[in-house]
């Protein structure tokens, strides 16, 4: 009992430190500019919810709902593509031997080492040549080809933890390579697959540079671009609270997705996994 109370106290103390900025952000959406920059206390002097309505409506002809939809049009295919392709590729690396395997693995690792901003320009030219600028293809298509080397690397590490005897047993039961993957490996590493989906979701939500460069019609802007539509540090100033209100609304899906997924991070088949 005493142990449990200590655990709760510790958890709560850390949790407060972790979420305080979020609380502050919500409070700040009701503050004036001078109040925002002069107080660390999250509670605003007064509440005026109309800021949320104008934030939702935005100055553009579209509401935030429109930008949410755009974002989901990118995120959903991207997540599906990323998971499918990464799992297949990781399975190939983790369980099979093939010609030039070391070379391909080195290339996979190497593709993670180059900072994204240098490859952004050549890719932009490529998309421009293919005539697909201002569509969601540049944002989603690479995921179909296991473009996130990091996910493949993660999956390989976790797949290696699943004892090979499991595969062997499945094979004796007459399962082929793909069946083994779906019936044996995937259930064992489900938590990682959930994590990868969540990461794709959250990172795509926050990604700013790729859509900024590739999307030019305001109508097609994802949320991350819409959130910065109004902030012009070079200009005559703006009501900070409205931008903050937009970003609070924008955080809701991310927080919700994480909260919904977190249970799956742990539960699963207890056998196998990263032992050894």
């Amino acid at each position: 009992m005493k142990k449990k109370i200590t655990a709760y106290l510790l958890l709560t103390a850390i949790a407060v430190v972790m979420i305080y900025p979020l609380l502050w952000l919500i409070g700040a959406s009701f503050k004036s500019n001078d109040e925002i920059f002069s107080s660390v206390w999250f509670m605003p002097k007064h509440f005026d919810f109309s800021v949320y309505r104008s934030a939702w409506e935005t100055v553009t002809p579209y509401s935030m709902g429109h930008y949410f939809l755009n974002t989901f049009c990118i995120i959903i295919p991207k997540t599906v593509f990323a998971v499918l392709s990464s799992v297949l590729v990781a399975y190939g690396f983790a369980r099979f031997d093939f010609p030039m395997k070391r070379m391909w693995f080195s290339l996979l690792m190497g593709s993670m080492f180059m900072p994204a901003i240098v490859t952004a320009m050549p890719l932009y030219l490529l998309w421009s040549r293919l005539g697909v600028l201002d569509t969601y293809i540049p944002l989603t298509l690479p995921s179909l080809f296991a473009a996130e080397g990091m996910f493949v690397f993660m999956l390989i590490q976790f797949m290696k933890g699943v004892p090979k005897e499991f595969d062997e047993a499945a094979r004796l039961d007459g399962c082929g390579a793909l069946k083994t993957l779906f019936y044996v490996l995937i259930p064992c590493i489900r938590p990682v697959i959930v994590s990868i989906s969540v990461f794709t979701f959250l990172w795509t939500m926050n990604d700013f540079l790729t859509p900024l460069i590739n999307i030019s019609s305001v109508e097609k802007y994802p949320l991350s671009l819409a959130l910065r539509l109004s902030s012009d540090s070079t200009g005559n100033g703006y009501e900070q609270c409205k931008i903050i209100a937009m970003s609070v609304i924008g955080l809701i899906p991310s927080a919700a997705v994480f909260a919904a997924a977190q249970k799956k991070f742990i539960s699963g088949i207890t056998a196998g996994g990263l032992t050894g």
Binding site: K4, A7, L10, L11, T12, A15, M18, I19, L22, W24, L25, I36, F37, V40, S85, L88, F93, A94, R95, F96, D97, F98, P99, K101, R102, W104, F113, P115, I117, T119, L125, P142, F145, A147, M150, I156, Q157, K160, G161, D167, A177, P191, V192, S195, F199, N206, I244, S247, L251, S254, A255, F258, A259, Q262, F265, I266, G268, T270, G273, L274
Partner: protein, 297 residues
């Protein structure tokens, strides 16, 4: 040429694996090879993004190797990585163990612990850090209570890097999630057995938990090292690289050369140097953890 034998399960040919990784191979040829080649070639040119690139051989690299800006950035990046990565691994592992407890409402805590990582580069984070670390900020007030002198977090080149490290330590979410994914695999019976043998919590942590987690520790080590060496956003937001370049990372240098100074040739050359640095770091990690590449695949 020596004939290679392929170590596959009975009945599986050497092309099954190749077939499975086709998406990667195709993607590599389509979307990675070309930007990499382009970037390498541009690194050999003098290119301002407007005039046609002029081929100048390895001139950019020669200049960089003698450039004090490059030296400073490399040192800052190395220092940053060496301090941040181990601390972040420790913190995220401890947090994951805490969140692995089976108590009611643990889901709320898990979400709360991840909130900073969702916030990422949000304005709130920048302002919060200002309230914490500026001269009259909360941290200095706490330090003041102990009677010590206030620390000049932002303005002193000895400390500025720590404000950034602290920010990234606070955003430990993704490493924590990976640890959580792995922790369930440590069977409870092991701990029970250890208890019977008279092992305390600390000893069973070192004797059971750590060895069982070695794959995921390695995974996080590699991923966090790569991320730290590419760091750009945190110094860009919090310090702008200063004071006196004490937080000026290679990532910031690439950004500046590329977008602010319009020197794409140098930007690409720096990127390739960074690429080599990271490759070296990752190879060292593979070596240190006793994995050759064959084994880790």
């Amino acid at each position: 040429m020596k004939k290679r034998t392929y170590n596959n399960p009975v009945g599986v040919g050497k092309y099954t694996g190749l077939l499975l990784i086709t998406p990667f191979i195709a993607g590599f040829l389509l979307f990675t090879l070309y930007p990499f080649a382009a970037s390498f070639l541009l690194g050999l040119t003098d290119y301002d993004g407007v005039h046609p690139p002029q081929f100048i051989g390895f001139e950019n690299y020669r200049e960089l190797l003698a450039d004090s800006e490059m030296h400073d950035a490399a040192l800052v990046t190395i220092k940053y990585t060496l301090i941040l990565v181990p601390l972040k691994l420790i913190i995220s592992l401890l947090a994951a163990m805490l969140l692995n407890l089976e108590v009611r409402g643990i889901g709320i805590y898990r979400t709360a612990f991840y909130v900073p990582s969702i916030l990422g580069a949000n304005l709130a984070v920048v302002i919060m850090w200002q309230f914490l670390f500026t001269s009259g900020g909360l941290v200095n007030q706490l330090i003041g209570l102990t009677g010590a002198d206030a620390v000049s977090w932002y303005g002193d080149s000895r400390y500025a890097l720590f404000t950034i490290i602290l920010l990234r330590l606070w955003e430990f979410g993704s490493a924590m999630v990976l640890f959580l994914n792995a922790l369930r695999d440590v069977p409870k019976e092991y701990y029970d057995a250890a208890k019977v043998d008279g092992c305390g919590g600390v000893r069973s942590f070192f004797a059971i938990t750590l060895p069982m987690l070695k794959n995921v520790i390695f995974l996080n080590l590699v991923l966090q090292t790569i991320a730290a060496m590419q760091e750009f956003n945190a110094p860009y937001m919090l310090t702008g690289g200063g004071p006196m370049r004490s937080t000026y990372t290679i990532g910031m240098m690439i950004y500046n050369e590329m977008f602010r100074y319009h020197d794409a040739g140098t930007a690409n050359a720096v990127s390739w140097l960074l690429f080599l640095f990271i490759t070296a770091a990752v190879l060292i990690l593979f070596r240190l953890t006793g994995r050759n590449r064959e084994d880790s695949i």
